[in-house]
Subunit: 320 residues, 2 copies
């Protein structure tokens, strides 16, 4: 009999990853492909099943179960995807479908909640009972652990941290409201600001435009990060706005949740290495002293596989 392991799936709007994860949160093996969004749930589920079987064949024991993290709102009890905007899915019985296809037990959760739990079990939140995990990618997602328990809320959508309002007069958000955290500091908002800058002042946007292959519409948060890394002085003001917004949002979270650890991760945090120090300083300066007394602001440790590790670790915990 071989080692105990679980399948961990990170199901995003661009990338689908399936990993073989052990009880220490280590990735033993992994497969990755572009998500076939156009194919709809049936096609994506078939891809997950095929990748899972391939990993299973390369192992010397069956998985204890499969965990899936997906960007969207989940009905945790039924393992049903209520709404996954990036995939265009509504009311997909993902747990049921995967259990039928793979004949192993499945658990489905929100992607950043999976990461949060993974960070707590094996990463930057090990042994910490009160933590907030903030993932700043294209949007901003979050997970909160309080007294050792993941907050779920009334309808399992607690910790939509990208949609706390930090500027009630601020720019519109994709959610229909204004001034949300992610409308100021998320990857899409950084891209929007950079594109505006390049349109309004072509000379200031020159470097970014070059890095984006000459098309303003192709400037992304990654372009901004690369321009910053190459010393482009014109992105300084933009990054100043982003770091002010990140500090304001993090102060709100620290005052509201009083975590021992604030764990930051995601493409924007990885791409702009100075940000985490600025947030650490800013939160200590602007947060309530009582709320920051026990606080550490740290980088997530699960790395590029965070989603799959988190989902697999959850499955190990539930079924292992």
């Amino acid at each position: 009999m071989g080692e105990r392991w679980a399948l961990g799936v990170d199901l995003g709007g661009t990338k689908l990853e399936v990993a073989r994860v052990d009880g220490d949160g280590q990735v033993l093996d992994a497969l990755r492909m572009a998500t076939d969004v156009d194919g709809g749930p049936a096609s994506v589920e078939a891809d997950i099943a095929r990748m899972s079987r391939a990993l299973w064949e390369r192992a010397d024991s069956p998985p204890v179960g499969i965990g899936v993290g997906i960007a969207g709102q989940i009905d945790g009890q039924r393992g049903q995807v209520r709404f996954a905007p990036n995939l265009g899915w509504r009311e997909v019985p993902l747990r049921e479908d995967l259990e039928r296809l793979l004949r192993v037990r499945a658990v489905v959760t929100n992607d950043v909640r999976a990461i949060t739990w993974g960070e707590r079990l094996h990463g930057a939140g090990r042994g910490i009972d009160d933590l907030v995990c903030l993932y700043v990618g294209t949007g901003i997602g979050g997970g909160v652990v309080s007294a050792g328990r993941l907050l779920e809320g009334c309808t399992n959508t607690a910790a939509e941290l990208g949609h706390i309002i930090i500027d009630l007069n601020g720019p519109p958000c994709t959610c229909g409201n204004r001034g949300c955290f992610e409308a100021l500091a998320g990857g899409w908002a950084i891209a929007r600001q950079a594109q505006e800058m390049a349109r309004n002042d072509p000379s200031a946007g020159e470097r970014m435009l070059f890095l984006a292959g000459g098309a303003v519409g192709k400037i992304t948060a990654e372009t901004v990060a690369r321009a910053a890394a190459s010393g482009d002085p014109f992105v300084t003001g933009l990054l100043e706005n982003v770091s002010r917004a990140l500090i304001a949002g993090c102060v709100s979270l620290v005052n509201a949740f009083n975590p021992c650890r604030l764990i930051l991760g995601g493409g924007v945090i990885d791409g702009l290495p100075d940000l985490i120090d600025k947030v650490r300083e800013g939160v200590k300066r602007n947060g309530l002293p009582a709320a920051t007394a026990g606080l550490e602001v740290v980088r997530g440790l699960l790395g590029a596989n965070a989603g799959a590790v988190g989902a697999g670790s959850l499955a190990m915990e539930v079924f292992g």
Copy 2:
């Protein structure tokens, strides 16, 4: 042998109330006086002890214990007041002192947390496992129950909801930061805005000035409420700002905590009866649909004695 009851104490910067509270959260008897802030902890503790004994003498059984709710940061384990800004107290061993003075067991907590727990046991949050209680008085305080448990956080200061940031370019807050929820919607902020208005435009401020006895510096949130009640058209814009700020803050809380019930209370909510409908509407309109699906926005039910009822109910639960 008589009924089981507890002493409940609401200890604020202006008012000190001690009540005899039964197992249903009913006030059987109560005493109230101005808080002797200048006398310091020893004098206030002596007042609490004297009022407690007077209530005890009028009862036909001893109390099961005493609960104290106090505006400030509490070390819950030791029952020590870390910092109570309105009283100017730092590191006061309140639980120990009261147990020594009264020879009954004592529990000390933050005032809005006491109210939150009281609302959950006997008020607007009965039977609800996920709720947010927001008290809008001079400042803004809060309490959060998630999965049936009061959030405490890493250093027992979770739910400082008056200090989430809703306008990162907003006015200064007493905490040293800018744009906090209470710096836009708390009673002191409403008073500040009204005073500014009366100073800048005496004709617009005429009604408020009259109600405040002619001194701009005496205009309070209550003056604004009375001016509004008397149909003063000049306070409309000010109240519009307050309701926008309240909606923004409540949307943040609903998206972050996903409560089943948002309970509003405190002087500002009581003084401006239209506010609660506006918040209810605004939160439904601007909150994430998934986060508002199960939400009710309601008024607190514990009324004027909320602090003492909450603290007494906590003592009944802990010691009863």
